[in-house]
Structures are given as C-alpha cells and as structure tokens.
Symmetry: D3
C-alpha cells in the first residue's frame, strides 16, 4: 500500500491517466551490508528538489511541460526482502500495464530487482544500462542471494549474457570481476564508451539503473559504501541525459542515496538534480 506521508518531487503532479512517467519510492535498506539509511533517500530527494528550479538551462526544458506523476512511497516490510520486492514488482507492473514508464527511487540497489522483474516480463529482451561503483555480481553475500551486492547477478539470471552494460565500475572482489568478463559488458572506472553502446542499442527496450555511488564521494558522500575515484556530477549529468533522450527507456531507477551520512544535504541536491535531468530528457526525446 502507498505510505500516507507523501513527499512529492517538484512539479510532478500530472494525473495518473495522462502521465508518461510515474515516479515511486522504495524506502528499503534491509540488506545493506555497510552503512544503512537509504530508506530515507526517496523522501530526502523529493524535499530537496524544491531547492532547485523546474527549468534546466542544460536542456532548455521545464518540468512543467512534462507529463510526470510522483505517486509517493511504498510502505515496505523491513526485514523481509521477498515481501518488499513483491510490493515493488506489483507497483511497477501496475504502471507498466497502464502503458506508462515506471521510475523507481531507492532505497538500496536491491530494489531494482523488483522493478526489473516486472519490466522483463513485459519486455523479455530488455537490455540493462548499469551505472555503479560496484559490480553487484556476487552469487550471494554471506549466504544471502537477495542482497544489494548481488542485484545485477539476479537480473542477469533473467536476461542471460550480452544484455547488461556496466559503466563506472571500480570495486568488486576478484571472482566477481572474472565472472563478469564472461557474462556482462563492463566499462570500468568511468563512462567512456557510452555513446557507442547507446548507438548499438538503437530502439531496443532499455532498463536504466543508476547507483548514485558511481559518482565520486567528494560529489556524493551520502551513500552506503563510498568508493573513491568516481565520476563528476557533470559527467553523470551528460551521461544520463544521453541515455534518457536517445534510448528507448522503458523503466529506470536511481538508488543508494543515504542522507544520514551527508549532513550538508548536498548529496540530496545532487540526487534531485540527476532525477530532474533524467525526467526532462525522458520527456523530450531527441
């Protein structure tokens, strides 16, 4: 059920029937292995959006021209990943079956699996563009297969080889990196090569998952597992604009904002601005 305490992203009050994109939040972090708190991400991101403007001078577009609804947060069951994922999947399903694009705000990265299950059912040959600091390709983490550290591996079990394109990856254990070489396409360290992948994907349906820790912790300290050496805000901004305006994005998510670990609030603003640029690019096409 939807949580009655609603924080809405600025300007995203399009009626459901007319909305092309529907935001929803998944405040869940039960499997986080390092620093918890991404449960507070979805509401912090929205509140901070009011410190920004509807208008983007980068794209010369304005959110007031876009058909987006922010439908609030799911109320998820802490301590039960299966229940939480089922609720997320059901919500994404609901949005997809109405012909709209689900845009999930996490939460820890595991939430992606819920949305992706629904997207994959509708688009069985969907590809994944994955921005992250971490490979997230483990078979299990301390015996737990439904873990944030395994989420892309779980997605791969649905897509099979050749469908997952990773960017910005700079951490993982040796086994993950080796496994990844055979099963996914990994562009390590930065976002180089994205334009080629976007071209190659053409009109194919794409699920776009953005773990915000792909950015350097200087830019985005408010995350569970800060990994030095990431990309700048401007690099990420350009990259998400590219994917969202040029690919056929049928579902997407932004995750791993962990507000308690950035008391300056800057990480919230960064996350909010990434979402604004994505929404504007999704609405505009190329």
């Amino acid at each position: 059920m939807l949580n009655p305490q609603i924080d809405v992203y600025m300007g995203c009050d399009c009626p459901f029937e007319q909305a092309e994109t529907v935001l929803f939040g998944a405040p869940f972090d039960s499997t986080t292995s390092n620093r918890p708190g991404t449960r507070f991400g979805p509401s912090a991101l929205r509140r901070e959006s009011y410190g920004l403007e509807l208008y983007s001078p980068y794209q010369d577009r304005d959110l007031s021209d876009c058909a987006v609804l922010d439908s609030g947060d799911l109320e998820l069951s802490m301590g039960s990943s299966e229940l939480a994922l089922a609720d997320i999947e059901a919500r994404a399903e609901e949005i997809l079956s109405a012909g709209k694009r689900p845009f999930l705000i996490g939460g820890e990265h595991l939430v992606t699996l819920g949305a992706f299950r629904a997207v994959h059912r509708k688009y069985p040959d969907v590809a994944i563009i994955h921005f992250d600091a971490h490979t997230d390709l483990r078979e299990d983490y301390l015996g737990v297969p439904l873990s944030h550290a395994c989420v892309i591996r779980r997605c791969w079990e649905l897509t099979g080889d050749g469908k997952i394109f990773q960017f910005g990856i700079r951490s993982g254990d040796r086994a993950e990196w080796r496994w990844g070489k055979d099963h996914v396409t990994c562009h390590p360290f930065d976002l180089e090569g994205l334009e080629d992948v976007v071209k190659r994907l053409g009109d194919a349906p794409v699920y776009f998952t953005v773990d915000l820790d792909v950015m350097d912790p200087s830019v985005f300290p408010g995350t569970g597992t800060p990994e030095p050496g990431g990309v700048s805000f401007d690099a990420l901004r350009r990259a998400v604009t590219l994917v969202c305006s040029r690919c056929n994005v049928v579902g997407c998510d932004v995750n791993e904002l962990c507000p308690p670990f950035d008391q300056s609030g800057v990480s919230n603003a960064v996350a909010a601005k990434v979402v604004r640029e994505m929404l504007l690019a999704l609405s505009g096409g190329n």
Copy 2:
C-alpha cells in the same frame, strides 16, 4: 608496547575456560523500522569503554577481579533474520553448554530472540525481566513476525503467561497494551516495583534484556526510536545493579545503541557504563 585494544570491552580478556560470563556482539539491524544503525552498536560500545575506568566507585569493585571474556562480534547476514538468529542462538548455546553465562550486545532488539531460544532450551522455566520504552508485543509488523517490534511476543510464545516482567514501557499501539494486560506484567513509565519483582523471583533463572531506550533520549539520544519520558542514567544504573546482583541471571543482553544518531558519542559512553555496572554486579552477587 602494542595497544591491546582490539574491539574488546576493556579488561574482558579472561580465557574462555575460566570465564563466568562471555560477551558477544550481534551487529544486526535488518528489521529496524525507524532509524537503522544499531549494527554499529557493539563495536562503538567497546571502543568507548576505554574512556571509562575498570573500577566502579558505586560498587567498589573492579573489572580486573572479574572472570569475563569478550569474544567479539558475530558476522551476521544482513537481510536474513532467520540466518542471523540461528547464528546468535548457536553462539549462546555454545556458551551455555560450557556452563557460562552469555551476555549479548546488540544490535536491534530482535537479536534477543536468538539468545533467549538457547537459554529457554536449557532453562525451560526461565523468567524475563524486560527494560524498554516499547512493549515489543506485536503479533507482526507489516507482515513480518521476526521484527524488533515483536521480539517479546516471540519470547512469550516460548514462556507463556506470567513469566515476563516489563519496566519503563511508555509506547505501543492500543492493541499491544491491551494484549499485554492479559499476558505479561507491565510496570509502565519507570522502574518502580522492581524490588518486589526481584524478591518474588528469588533464585529462579532469569533472562535480563535491557533495551537502552528505556532511558530518556536526553540521556541516550543514540537509538533508533527515541521515546521521550524515560528514566535517568542513575535510575537505570541502580536497577541493573539490583537485578544483576540479586537475581539468578542465566543470560542477558543490552541492545539498541545506534551510534550514528549521537555524534557526541555520549550514548556510547552511557551504554558502556551500563555494561560495566552489570558485569561487576553479575560477578559479585550480593
């Protein structure tokens, strides 16, 4: 010389064979419904212990005279309460079967269930003295029965009526309070009546569980769900000394220290001092 501090409570380096009490930590908080972070409690509590002294002028006793081992933290599986509880239960079992008293440091309050399962198996008629701000008597929380908000209810399923004595309780939903009236003995708001309960229990085996949020948040802000109106440090100190020196405590725990929400570090010091007074009282008897 090399510093002996290795995330071990000060002075608790008695060899296992000679130890009467064995500390172990359960850094787990996957079911926390409000503010997570108690996973950092066990190590923060120990590190802060070095700001205190081994000697207590309240009891005129010294930890160096006590037979206590701090055996470190369990490595628990975030996101799987069943796996985590099984590991905790196994560790408590190990300590109990060696004829020693397990002293668990949480972590969220759910960890109590793991230790109590082992204690209850050895002492089927064990009573529970429960200090807390919250009743923790829910049947389930958003569909999850293994939740910190249900932990005393889960214990009651083992003990049955008349075995659980609550103190300091000042929060819960109406249904919990009503259910509690029929099944447990609740002393709300403060620690009044404890002396009577201690007398009544005599030599019966007691499991003593201390949710540190029984203290007022002014004294102990570093906890997941601060509940104004609690007891003072001195009141708690006297009460834990009473229970630990006069009851037959066969197992105990201290939980719900959430360090990220108290950057002054005072909550760590408070928790560490509560543990010191408990250890000294357990070692001394009356």
Copy 3:
C-alpha cells in the same frame, strides 16, 4: 497559499468539515536573532510523528478517535514579517470562522502574533497561557518591533494587563523583567502555580502558546536560543495535558523547534510527542 509539499501529522486526516482542531504550519524564521532554522520545524515535527504511536498510555487515548485535520504548511514570504503574519492571521481566521480550533506549528515565536490576532478578534477577552524560557516582552529588538523577542509584548498590546500568564521564564534583560512585573503574571523558572491559574481561568477562552525552549536544552537542544535550566519533558507533558484538558483552549501553538541544531533528531520526537499529548487532551476534556 498552502505549500504543495505536504507532510501530515500521523492520524490527522479528518475532513475539514468534521474536524474540531485544525493544524497548520508556519515555516518562518526571518526575525530569529540567534540561530535560524525553525522554518524546518513544522515538517520535521510531522515526519518524526511516525516514530511514535497514535495511542498514549499516559492518557489512555488514541488519535484515531480524535477529530483533527493537519492542513499542511503555509508558504510564507521570507524577509517580510508583515506578509507572513497576514497569511497566518488569514488562515487562523478561516479556521475560526468555521467554528474550529486553530493549532499552529511554528516556526519562530513571532508566528504566534498572526494566529493570536485572529483569535483575539473573535474572543476579545481571551487570556494567554505562555510557556517559554524567555520573556519576549521587549518593546523592539534592534529597532524591529515585529521580532520573536517582542511577540508577547505585541500580544499584550491587544489584551492589556492581567491577561497573560507566563511559566518557565528564566531569561530576559533587566528592563523586560521590570516591565513584566507590572503588566503580566510571571511564574519564573518552572511550571509551579499552573494548577491555580487553570482553576482561576475556569471557562474563559484561553490562547495557549508553547515555546518549546521552556524545556531544558538537554531534553530539547534543537532550538534557536538554548537556555539551560528548563523543565523536563515529563513536567511539560503533564502541564500541557492539564491546560488542554481543563481550560477552554480556543487556539494554540507550539513553536521554536529548530531541527538543524539537533542532528540526533530527538528534539523532533520531543516536539511531536508534546503535540500528540496536546491533541489528545484537547479532544477529550476532563
């Protein structure tokens, strides 16, 4: 106009027509002379309310039985006290003219003046019960008469002598204290004498204004001007319950929660619980 970003106090979703009490927030702090940030108070208080329960064991009542609407925050003009006060007054007027009780959540203490103007127009002989650490009786503050430091003086200009009853006051300059002796009834330092005042007021209309800094900063550090030596949470809880259940409270407010200066979040929880106890007592009578 009402700010579209709505955070609602738990359980306060009674339709306007049926509500007896209507909450509204005034996120304003332009005249704060020490540490600003009470603008974030109204939304922080509501969000934190979800960490509490609807049920109060102190009063054995439940918010689900009360007719309260939380109508959200006003969007106020920072930098213009006159515009802000006019908006607050208009909203209070609206609530009063529908026969309901306005319950204002600040913001700095100046916001009281807006609500009180409307209340005083409807109830010209209304008395004021004022809980605070500071006298707030200055003629002006650095040349500014519409200042948080002058708000009770501004109210006195409406009520005249003998209508204002202060409790808990422990700070002010010498001139204020001397002026106060002739014009208001001041019970300094604590809440002693409240029962007598409540009896004396009988059924007379009362405006009840609670500056939360009446509490000691150990209990409530998140405020603009912390003043050591205040009352405990329990003392305040009992006092607000007394006023709200026994007096004819025709309007009230709670103010001066300044979240940025208490990163533990405890002050938010304290403020939220004070509001819960007030709402329950207002709904029940004695």
Copy 4:
C-alpha cells in the same frame, strides 16, 4: 554601530587612515528562502583564516605587505531588510568617502545591494562582474522584492542594460533566463569568457560580487542553496585573481558562506582563501 565582538581576518590590522581596502561583515540572512545561516559566515570566515598563511605561493605575495583593515561586523536588524541595507550602505559610503575600497563579507547575497547602492552613487557608470550559480534576476520572490533571489535585478535597476556580466550561472526559472537574455551578459555554467570581459572593461570602475555557490558543492557544501555542477576552487582562484589584479575594482563582496551546513569546516577555509587571494591581487595590480 559596530559589533564589539570582533573577529578580524588574519593580518588585516592596517590603521583606517592608511588602509586601501576596508573589510566589513554583514551577518544577515533574513530573506534566505532555502537554508538559513549565512549570518554566521563573516565570523567563521575570519576565524578560519588563521588556519591559512599570510603568504600566497600562487601570487608570491604576503598580506603583511598589504594595506587592509578588517573593521569587523555590522550589527544588523534581523527581520528588516530595509534597516539592514541602510546600515550596510552607510558603512560602504563611509569607506568610499574616505577614498578607500569597501570589501563586504556576507551574509546572504541581498547584502550586495547595500554596498552597491553606495558604490553606484559614487561611480554612476560602474559595471558589475557577477559570479554565481543562480541568476538572482527575479522581479520578486513570493511578493518580496528585497530578496536574495532578486538582488541582481535590483542592481540592474540602478545600472540599466549592458553593465552586468554574469559567470557560472546554472540555475534560475525559465522567465529569469529569458529576461536575462535581453538585459545582462550571461556566461552560463563556468568562467569561460572572463578574460575577454576583463579586457573590454579596461579601466572602467567595476563592482565585483562573488556568490561562493558558483563553486561546485563538493568544494563548497556550506551554502544555503547548493547547486551541483559548479566550478572548482582553482578555477575560481584564478578568476578572482584575474579580476582583482586587472580590473579597476572599486568595491567588492564575497557572500553566501553558510557554516552550519558544513561541519567539516572546509567551506570556511575555502572562503577564507578566496578572500586572501582577492586581497593580495587587489593590493598588487598587474
């Protein structure tokens, strides 16, 4: 009047009569619409200056060779922008009429208007070089024309078209951007094009206003409205050195340092170093 509690920028103790540049602080933030606290900027910036050195290896100059007085902070009336601006204007006037250069430290950006009014009276054809993340070109903000969000628009009312050169701008609503196209020269996103403007201005009198949020929030998180995508410290350092050493700067200011939102203190150090480089460049010429 000058506030007796004086924090002085390191090494800026030249007697008034001999000073070429006179620093003064304006701790004012009543119109801040997002996160307040820039009132603490002027004193935090000075205190942090003692963590730096008088000597700059970038310019190979030393503050001990410069004729600068830091004359302390104005005591401003919170809640009254008109009173505050009048005090700032009077102080700038005093400095200008003694033939010296006023260097204002804010506070929120609105304070610029006070100093600029005095500068513009003495130099009616003065140009403005404006570094900022935000356009600050609104006609009014929620009905308030004297707002930080309108300050450059207020300055434009004095200068008319063609006199204002903006750099680094990356935020504003659509209407502001469109209005700006016709009335000011805007170099968006970064500091490109500055050298050309500096050349074009030649010996014309210039007022230089630096909103520190022109820097990226990773570099400068301690500000009221963090706007991701800004310039680096080194880019800003080079740019302020260029303007201050090559232009005829007749007045300047640095503003929008908001210390409470950067508890690392780094933003204070960044602001202090920007001021040092400006002071050294102003004293040296090219």
Copy 5:
C-alpha cells in the same frame, strides 16, 4: 603574548585598572587522553555568551554592574606543556600582582596548574574547591606527570593534605580512590556537603576549579571524557553561586568545554551561563 583574534565575553569590557576580576583563556589540550578539542572552548564559550542576557533572574544582578575585564586568549605552544603552563602562570601572576582575581577559561584541566601555581605563591595556605567527574589524582599518565589526569595531584604537591575538597567525583582507577582517601576530602557523585565546606572555610582564600564534566553528559555532552551520572545544570548553578558569593575566591577557572563534540552548541551555552552566574556572584558577595 595575547592572541590578536579576540572574542570577548559579553559585557566584560571594564578597563584593566578598574577590573576586580580578569578573565583570560587558555586554549590548550595537548595532554588530553581521550577526545581532544578543548582548545576551542574559550572562544566558543564567549561567542555563545551573546545568546544569553547580561541579567540573571536567579540572582537579580546584571553584568553591566560588575567590574570584569575579558582580556582574551593566550597563544599557547601546542605540544609543550611546560611552555604553556609557564605562560598561564605568568598571566595569572600579572593579574594577581595588580590586586585582581584571575578567572581562567580552559582548555583541558591541566591549565589549572599554571594559574594555581601563581595563586599559591601569593596565598600559600589557599584551599581548593574542586568540582569534577574525575579524581585527577594520578601520579602520572602513561609516564607523563603533566597530564590533565594528574592535575589535582600536582596541586596537592603544593598544598599538602587537608586543603583540597572534591565534589561530584564518580570516576578514577582504584589506586586513585584509595590514595585520595588519605590526602583529600572527596564528596563523591554529587554536590552534597558543599554548604558545610563553605562554612568551614570561612574567609580563608579559596581557589575554585570547575571541570564542567561534573555535569551529566545529557546536560553537557561537549567534553573530552563524558562520564554518565553527573549533576544537573541547576545543581551546578546553585553550587557555583554558593561558592562564589560566600567564599573568599582568590582565583578560579572553568574548563573542559570541548565544542567539536556537541554540534548542537548547547554545551557552549551551558558553560557560558555557568560563567555568568560565577561572575555575578563573585561581584556581589552575600
């Protein structure tokens, strides 16, 4: 030499010649064994004083009637206790030889030794009233005799037995407590018995040293070694008023405020108010 960066306690600007009491700060913490940062205490305490009022309703006195000078901070040599103590001693000597009362603001507790050496030279039979959580009676700390943990032991070497009266002590190792029994008068845990000591001391010269950690950490979290179980602000306020108004206080200090560990700023306010009440009581007699 005096540090040119002066923060002055509110209202303490009496010319040196006419001053009865002279404040000076000793921002030193090189021997702190737990959490450093008391070097920031003296300036934080002064800045926060401006959030209070000159007038005390407790004593009905006003600082504007008192003859007090705040002469600023010493610039002390970090890393050399001997140099620092020599500078403190010289400054106290200077004040004493002008017939005034030195009032030292620390810094860590070791600074007391500098001031006390000067006081003891002038008043060889001076007694010490010592408020603290810790005994501070160690012979040395890890081989260092000039340590905060040994400061009262060093003073005892000057006074001999029977001259030191401790209150509020609740921590120390067993050896310290035992040594103390034979050499000093210790009133553990609280401030009981103070009135008797004050009477007994009559007109004898008294040095009064207040380690602010005598207060409970809930009241005063901003200190190097928080020790739960201390006294309330009001208890301390009454006690310092008693000593300062009734004893012949020839020198005094307030120390161990460590601002970085209390980001709420409340500890600064508490310390500032303790100093105000001491200054007013010293100025008034009984």
Copy 6:
C-alpha cells in the same frame, strides 16, 4: 563464526616472520596547531577498509596475495612528543632489524620523524619523497621544534640538502618557501614531475611520506588543516602506485587523517584506499 575484525587492516594478517611489510599505527596529535583528532586516524582507517575489497581493478592485484601484517597501534603518551617519538622509533627499528619494511599510519605528521630516525640509521643516504599541502619546513612553531609544522625540517637535519623531494605543496609562510628553495626540491601545487624524480632515484633507498592533505579538501575534508587547491584522489592513487611500484621504498607512512571533522566517513574510505593501493604496489614491484 567470529568476526576477525580487530582494528586490523583487512587481509593484513600475515605472520610476522613471513611479512614483507608491517603496518603499525601511531595515534598521536599533541602538537597539532589547528584542529586535533588525528589520534583517531589509525583505527578509523582500518575499520573503513572493510568497506573496500581486497582486490584492486586498477592494479589487478589482491591483498590476499601480499605478505603484510598489521601489528596494531602503539599506545603513545599524549603531551610528550619525545616519549611518543621514542616509541615510534623503537617500533620501526624492530621491524627494520627483522628485514621488513615499516609502514606507519599516523596520527599527525610529526610521527614521521620517529620512523624516519630508524630508517635513516639503517639507510644513511635515504631520500625522502614527500607529498603534502604544507612545506613543514619551519625551524620551530611557537618555540616548539618537535611540531608537525617542522617535521620535514627535522628530517632535513638528518639527510642534508638534495635528498628531499616535495610534491603538491601549496602553503607555508614566506620564510619557509625561501628556505626551501635552497635546501629541498619542491614541486608546488600538484604531482607533476614525479616520474622524473622516480627515474632519477633509481634503486636508491626511499622513505615515502604521504600527508593526505595533499588531496583537495573536497576529496578529503577530514584533516586538521584543510588547504583548498589540492590534487584529486585519482591523481594521488596513480602517484602512490608509481612510487611504491618503481622506487626502492624502505619505509613509508600515511598521516593526517582526522576523522572527527568528516562525519560522512568518506575521508576514512579515501585513506583506506590509498593504503590498499600502496600495499599492492609495494608487494608487486615493477
């Protein structure tokens, strides 16, 4: 199973006899002149290492293949630099005489002197590669020669001219910079020229000292004296990899991590990752 984490850097549990490199910590900061707290650096760095992986994709190496022991922290005497340096020197001596490489984790930069004394005794012609924001070349600091601000000067007294190569320096007083020109090789502002120095040094023994404040404070805010304008994490990562893989590093240290001033914890992660890359490069050679 019991968690092996005992304040030891991840994966560094090689037995002493087989270790090539031996880590040890020096939690000392008594001479810090600005913001203290680097005493907490060694343990924070280790704990944070568990948020990283043993494997580095940059070098394609894994710590599990390296022969490194982390032997824990020294217990040092706060307030006595001589005692502390003696203990550090003795420990380095012990490691060197066993034919291993000492790797010191500070603590303030003064600790380098202890380790370097031992290294210089064994390798009298050792060169120093020094990364830092500050020259550290003062003769003394406020009369104290054993100060963090003088540490490289103290080292120069051992090496003489021509042996010290500085990189990244951007702060110092004018006298230091001038003195440095004659006695050391300084590459200011960044890490340019390192490759040439590495080539020139060939197989000569090198002591490598990394003051982490060489990085920009946006990347590394948790340090005692943040100095804007530093290098990025990636620049530092590449540079330390170059030195450690190509030079004959006979001893090294990483220092000036000050955790209390970065509550996001990012600085801890950055420091931990720098150490990992150094360890991997040291173990691999070229």
